[in-house]
Subunit: 333 residues, 2 copies
C-alpha cells in the first residue's frame, strides 16, 4: 500500500545547481536541499558533492538513509539507464561515470538514474499538470530542446533509451545549423539557445537596449528572464523574435500531435515560466494551425507547473517504480 511505503529521494543534477528532495506518497516534496554544481577536479568530487547534498536533505527531513526506499537521480542525457551510467553530459566534467553504483555504495540505498527531461515530464505526469492523461508529449525549450513521451501511461524509451529527440526533428531542411551537426532541427529554431543567437544580432544592431544592458552579445548570459525583461520594456524586435521561436515550437508540437494522437502537450522550462501565457498562446496557435483538425481538436496544451520539483518528483517516482518491478520479477523467479 502506497501509504505504508517508505519515502523516496529525488535528485535533480543540473549543470549549475543540484537539488535533492524527499518525496512522500509518491508526489509530495516534504524536504529540500540545494547546492551549486561546482567545477570538479575528479569524478569522485561530483559523487561526494551529491552525497553531501543528499545528507543535507536527510538532515532537513530529520531522517536517515535507511529510512528511504530509494534514490532517483535526474541527470543530463545521454545516460545509460540500465547500468546507471552518466555517459558524456555537457558541463559536468565527467565521462562514463557509473553514478548509480557509486552513490548506492556510499548511501546504502538503491539508486536509479533517469534522464532529466524524462524525469521532469514524469513528475508533471504523477503530480503536476499532466495528471490523469495517458498519452502526453513533453517539449522543454532551453539551451537545447528536450523532448519526452508518456505513451499508454508509461515513459517511452525506444530500444536503447534514446527516444524523445523531438528537438532534432528536421523542420527546415538546409536551414540553421544545429549543435548536433545537422541543419534545420527544431532545436535550432525554437530553443532559447536559438533565440539567444538571434538576439545577439539584434544587440549588435542596436535594436535591444535591454538585452544589451543585461547580457551584451554574450549568448551564455541570455537567460529566459533577459527576454522577459526586453518584452516588458516593449522592445518590438525582441517580441517578434520570441514570437517567431514560439511559432516554430508550435509547428513542432503539431507534428507531435499528428504522430502521437496525444491527449496533451506539456511545455516547460525557464522560457515557459518567465514568458508565460503570451508565449504559450503563440505556440498553441501555431500548433492548431499546423496539425490535422480532427486530431488536434481535443489536445490540451499545458504549461508545466512544478518547476524545479518536477524532476525531483519524477526521478523519485521512476526509482520507486523500478524498485517495485524488480521486487515483482524477483518474487516470480
Amino acid at each position: 500500500m502506497a501509504g505504508n511505503m517508505k519515502p523516496v529521494l529525488g535528485f535533480d543534477l543540473g549543470g549549475t545547481k543540484m537539488l535533492c528532495g524527499l518525496v512522500e506518497n509518491g508526489r509530495t516534496v516534504t524536504a529540500r536541499y540545494k547546492k551549486k554544481t561546482k567545477e570538479i577536479d575528479k569524478p569522485e568530487d561530483l559523487v561526494d558533492r551529491m552525497v553531501s547534498c543528499v545528507e543535507g536533505c536527510l538532515k532537513e527531513a530529520g531522517i536517515r538513509a535507511k529510512d528511504v526506499a530509494a534514490l532517483g537521480v535526474a541527470a543530463p542525457g545521454p545516460v545509460d539507464l540500465k547500468t546507471g551510467t552518466l555517459l558524456n553530459p555537457p558541463n559536468l566534467g565527467v565521462q562514463e561515470l557509473p553514478l548509480a553504483k557509486l552513490l548506492s555504495r556510499k548511501l546504502g540505498v538503491p539508486v536509479v538514474l533517469e534522464n532529466d527531461v524524462n524525469a521532469g515530464l514524469y513528475g508533471e505526469f504523477v503530480a503536476g499538470a499532466a495528471q490523469g492523461f495517458s498519452h502526453v508529449v513533453g517539449l522543454f525549450p532551453g539551451t537545447g530542446l528536450g523532448g519526452g513521451m508518456i505513451l499508454n501511461g508509461e515513459l517511452y524509451y525506444g530500444v536503447s533509451g534514446a527516444a524523445g529527440e523531438i528537438g532534432h526533428m528536421t523542420v527546415q531542411p538546409g536551414g540553421r545549423l544545429c549543435g548536433c551537426g545537422n541543419r534545420g532541427c527544431l532545436e535550432a529554431l525554437a530553443s532559447r539557445g536559438a533565440m539567444a543567437r538571434e538576439a545577439a544580432v539584434l544587440v549588435a544592431a542596436g535594436k535591444s537596449p535591454t538585452i544589451a544592458k543585461l547580457a551584451g552579445t554574450d549568448i551564455s548570459k541570455m537567460k529566459s528572464s533577459v527576454f522577459a525583461d526586453a518584452i516588458d520594456a516593449g522592445e518590438e524586435a525582441v517580441i517578434e523574435l520570441v514570437n517567431n521561436a514560439a511559432w516554430w515550437l508550435g509547428l513542432g508540437m503539431a507534428s507531435c500531435v499528428n504522430i502521437f494522437n496525444p491527449e496533451a502537450i506539456v511545455i516547460g522550462g525557464g522560457l515557459v515560466e518567465k514568458l508565460g501565457k503570451s508565449y504559450v498562446k503563440v505556440a498553441e496557435a501555431s500548433m492548431r494551425e499546423h496539425a490535422m483538425a480532427a486530431i488536434v481538436k481535443k489536445v490540451k496544451v499545458i504549461a508545466a507547473g512544478l518547476a524545479d520539483d518536477a524532476a525531483v518528483i519524477g526521478a523519485a517516482a521512476v526509482a520507486a517504480k523500478n524498485l517495485a518491478l524488480n521486487a515483482a520479477s524477483g518474487s516470480r523467479e
Copy 2:
C-alpha cells in the same frame, strides 16, 4: 496453444480491389480470394460484396465460416477501431458504416476492424520483414503517405486510434500544398501522389516521353510502374524527380529515428516494390544524413516483403489478439 487455434480470416479492403485470405498459425496464408471493389449504390452493396469475397475464400479453403475463429478487416482510415466503424474513407462511397457489426451478423464470426496501414505494418511484424524487432516505424508512400508504429512490441494507437500520421509532419513550412489543407507536409513531398503532380509538369514540358505515353498528364494514371518504366528508359528528369522524393522520405525517416529510437524502419507499398533497391538506397542515405549519429547507427532500413499479404496477415493477427484479450478479460470477471 497456437497449433490448436482455429484459422483466422484476414481481409484487405482497398479502393480498387478487395482480398480475403485464410491465415493459419497466425502467419501463413493458405487460401486467397480476390474481387474488384466496384462502385456501389448503397452501403449494403459493399457489405454484400465483402461477404461474397469471404465466401469465395472459404470455398477455396474447403471450410465453412464456423471453422474460423474471427475475421480481421484492414480498411482505409479513418476508422473507429472500438466500434468497428468505417468513418469517411475516400473512394468507397460509404460514411459512418458499422462494418464490423454488419459483417459479423452476416457471417456469424467475430469481426475486428483495423486501419490498413497498421494492418500492413503488423503483418510485416508477425510474418515478414520486421519479425524479431520490438520498436519499428513504418512509412508507406502511396497516393498519400501512411505511417504506423510498433512500440514495445505493440501497435501504438494514441488516445483515439489516430496516431501515426507521420505523413503530415511539417518538413517544409509554407511549402507545397497537402491534401490535408496544410503546407509542406512530408506527404506533399515524398508520396507517389506528390511525384505524380511533379511528373505532370515534366510531361507538359516534354521531358518524359515514357510517362507521356503511359499516363499523359493524368496524375491518377501515374502508378508506381509508370515511374519504374521511365527510369528504365533512362529519363534523367524522372530519375531526379524520384531521387528527390526518396530524399524527402529519408528526411522524414530520420525524424522518426530521432523521436522513436527504433530498431528498424520499414518502408513499403507500390513505389518500394516497383522502384526497388535504388529508391530504398537514396531514402536510407538521406535518413543517415539527417538523423543523430548515435541513434541511427544500428537502425535497419527494411523494404516490406509481403506485398498484398501483409494487410491480410496483419488484420487476422490483430483480430486474433483482440479475441484473446477479450477472452482473458472475460475470464477475470
